[in-house]
Amino acid sequence: MTDNSNSSKNYAKILHEIVNKKYKKRLLVNKLVTMFTIVCVLAAIIPLGSILLEVVKNGASAISFEFLTQPQGSIGSGRGGIGPAIQGTVIVVGLASLIGAPVGVLAGIYLSEFAKGGIFPDLVRFFNDVLTGLPSIVIGIVGYVIIVLSIGSFSVLAGSIALSIIMIPIVVRVTEETLKIVPYSLREAGHSLGISKAKITLSIVLPSAKNGILTGIVIAISRIAGETAPLIMTILGTSLFFTGITGPVDALPLRIWRLASQPYESAHAFGWGSALILIFMILTLSVGLRFLARTKSFKADY
């Protein structure tokens, strides 16, 4: 017995020595890793911050009422504004979202709630992933060949459809993933009350996943609002306001690209201004929709 207790005391002593020695090392490593993560955070934030700063610095002076509402003046004059581009972006991105969000959410619901094994759902997932990785210029070319050539004109419609094709796979993915996080027990509770599957999905599961899905839609809209390549092939860009759904229209990313490629100081200032407006629009949308998602509504309906 004494031997035993002695040896166990010795073990305890040896263990303590090891722990103490390791402990100092661990503290040091802990500090180093913490510092490294802070450096990484800075490395991620500094470019973002400097971009924002640069855009505000160069673009703020261009903003005026005329700039926001008027079409472009004669080239190099520094007059007029980017009214048509703002209007065009709102119309094209809005229409693309009206097409892309419902299709994406419904497809996501299908994959998460209604697909029952077999090869078809996996095929859908596979092509959806491929679509996510497709270069946007390729989608632009497809939009050009299929829609622009058949209508005979660059158009809002072609641009919106091209952008919605970029949007759909993102929304599908996010919707499916978010719905999968909703606990199965909620669906079970719904089934145990004899509620139909459609109503369980719409009234119980979907509201629980609302925030995640809305965030996904916001990310997708932000992504397409900044797309340039597919718009060159579909809406072309114009210095005029909206003329109709089958006519060409302008958009902010296109306008920025055009302004930046002009050899005039004033055009560059307009370009910075347009960039600022585009960032501001995306930020407002993002913050606004998130705020909307966060306000929970518990309206007891007596």
Binding site: E188, A189, I195, D301, Y302
Partner: protein, 279 residues
């Protein structure tokens, strides 16, 4: 089957106890009758040829060690078992004279009449207390607000929750404590006016106070609903149930009045489980 059956001990069941009915008495009214029920997970048979009759307006407890199939059997009674991927059941389950596994029967219709309460409280997180109880009614097409309000109040009263929540019906259901959430789930099930209430270890995630409230509730509800409760807690089975079914490895080992199962079990396996020698 007119006469009561003699047990192995030679005692005629039901004779000694005046009010306690026997399982075997054919004159009794059965609410749920199981014949040859098998439950499968893929090729694995989780419950084997179960024959069991549940008397109307009584509490029947399923007990047994983990993995004995008691929950699977319970889930066969409202066809929730088949929601699990790869799972299926065969045999006959007759509720109120209706074979619920008949091809012409939609499981959704069955589940409107057979309520279920789960192991972990699962109130709908996006809904208020009121809406949680009203959910089953509304989503099944009930539009009359007066009736909904009346049923919600009555269900919360029957679930012994009304006094605690009557002034905060618009608060989220998730804001309640665990025990209250479980009673909310019971109220939600009761709102559908079920004839049978299935409870799957309803107190396993609750503290002793929450558990005792649920047990009390089970005893009161017995007067209006047929209750089948799965529990791993033998004391609980002894306290709340009129009949007890002991299951082991997918077989129904013994079934009878709770007193008899606990005081004088016919099978050695039952006796050993009851006395805590295994399980």
């Amino acid at each position: 089957m007119e006469e009561p059956i003699e047990t192995e001990d030679g005692i005629i069941e039901g004779a000694s106890e005046t009010k306690k009915p026997t399982i075997q008495g054919a004159t009794e009214k059965y609410k749920v009758r199981m014949e040859n029920v098998n439950g499968w997970y893929g090729a694995k048979r989780a419950i084997k040829d179960i024959h069991l009759d549940v008397k109307e307006k009584s509490v029947t407890a399923f007990i047994g060690p983990s993995g004995c199939g008691k929950t699977t059997l319970l889930r066969c009674l409202n066809r929730m078992h088949e929601m699990t991927p790869g799972a299926h059941a065969d045999g006959r389950v007759v509720v109120d004279g209706i074979d619920i596994y008949d091809k012409s029967i939609d499981p959704v219709i069955i589940r409107r009449r057979i309520g279920m309460v789960f192991q972990k409280p699962n109130p709908f997180p996006t809904m208020s207390i009121f809406d949680n109880v009203a959910a089953g009614l509304r989503l099944n097409g009930m539009k009359n607000k007066t009736i909904i309000r009346e049923i919600v109040e009555e269900s919360l009263k029957n679930a012994a929750l009304w006094d605690e929540v009557k002034n905060e019906l618009e608060k989220p259901g998730m804001s309640l404590s665990g025990g209250q959430q479980q009673r909310l789930c019971i109220a939600r099930a009761l709102a559908m006016q079920p004839e049978v209430l299935l409870m799957d270890e309803p107190t396993s995630s609750l503290d002793p106070i929450g558990s005792s409230k649920i047990e009390e509730l089970v005893r009161t509800l017995r007067d209006s609903v047929t209750i089948i409760i799965v529990t791993h807690n033998m004391q609980q089975a002894a306290r709340v149930s009129d009949f007890t079914a002991f299951m082991y490895l997918g077989d129904l080992i013994e079934y009878g009045p709770t007193n008899q199962i606990f005081m004088n079990p016919a099978k050695e396996l039952t006796e050993r489980y009851i006395s805590g020698k295994f399980g």
